[in-house]
Symmetry: C2
Subunit: 132 residues, 2 copies
DNA sequence: AACAGTATGTAATAATATAACATTCGAATG
DNA sequence: CATTCGAATGTTATATTATTACATACTGTT
């Protein structure tokens, strides 16, 4: 059984916002949006984000410095993430493909390094933008 | 035949520095190091970096906001990059594995999106750090 | 109650990156 | 050679992203 994670007030406020959003949110946009809820300083947001990323409730899109809620049943495997990113409209989708995740989780090369985590970002044009 | 890329003075200065480095370099560390060569402002460095990334001479390690020289014969496929990153010593290695790149270049899901580019970052402990 | 670990609040500052605009360079053309 | 045009440069200012430092408060355990 997975350990239940109780979120603190700040963490819950930030998570709610990120989950409601249809697009990746940037830290300072989050800050702006939660100021009416009492989170006044960047650090309060960053600390909540750090924790939420750590427990897999949200992910950071590294190439965009933005955050999205996890769409894979709270990513039991938050250490194995893959996203598709439209370079035109910036739509981001979390990829949930068991073949891909199996392939990457088992990937080994001759470096002698044991990988415990990965993050993959695909770029291209989404259906909509392709047909413009 | 591939189009020859002539680098400008600023681009060459930045590239030389990144190629000499055994570790990923951050933009402002690059700036500091090339100031004696006349590049005084952040933008001069960022512009050179942008161009070098565009033509595949260097890559950006997104999770670290740092830059490394390409190790794959100037990445004919600079739009298909994979790295291993040691979370202890921060050593970064560009992965050159044709099976992996073939697998990812051909990856498709049911989103209808055609991927033209990807970046993959593996995390773990390098040989050295594992044995400590 | 004492303690340890985690979370919070707050201010200041560091680190990363871009906007705006004037100027210069360099290849291509006529 | 003179003109043109796109790319690159120089410079200043500013925007955006993220962390340091330190004091305080909350939570569960002994
Ligand atoms: Zn997820
Ligand atoms: Zn799109
Ligand atoms: Zn490369
Ligand atoms: Zn290491």
């Amino acid at each position: 059984m997975e350990k239940q994670q109780y979120l603190t007030k700040n963490q819950q406020i930030v998570l709610d916002l990120v989950e409601k959003s249809s697009e990746p949110l940037k830290a300072y946009s989050i800050l702006f949006n939660v100021q009416k809820k009492g989170l006044k300083a960047p650090l309060q947001v960053y600390r909540a984000l750090d924790k939420l990323v750590e427990i897999g409730k949200i992910h950071k899109i590294e190439s965009r410095n933005a955050f999205v809620a996890c769409k894979n049943s709270n990513c039991v495997v938050s250490n194995a993430t893959a996203f598709s990113i439209c370079e035109s409209c910036e739509k981001v989708t979390e990829i949930n493909n068991s073949k891909l995740s199996k392939y990457l989780a088992n990937f080994q090369d001759n470096s002698g390094m044991k990988y415990s985590k990965y993050n993959l970002e695909f770029f291209g044009l989404c259906k909509k933008c392709k047909n413009k």
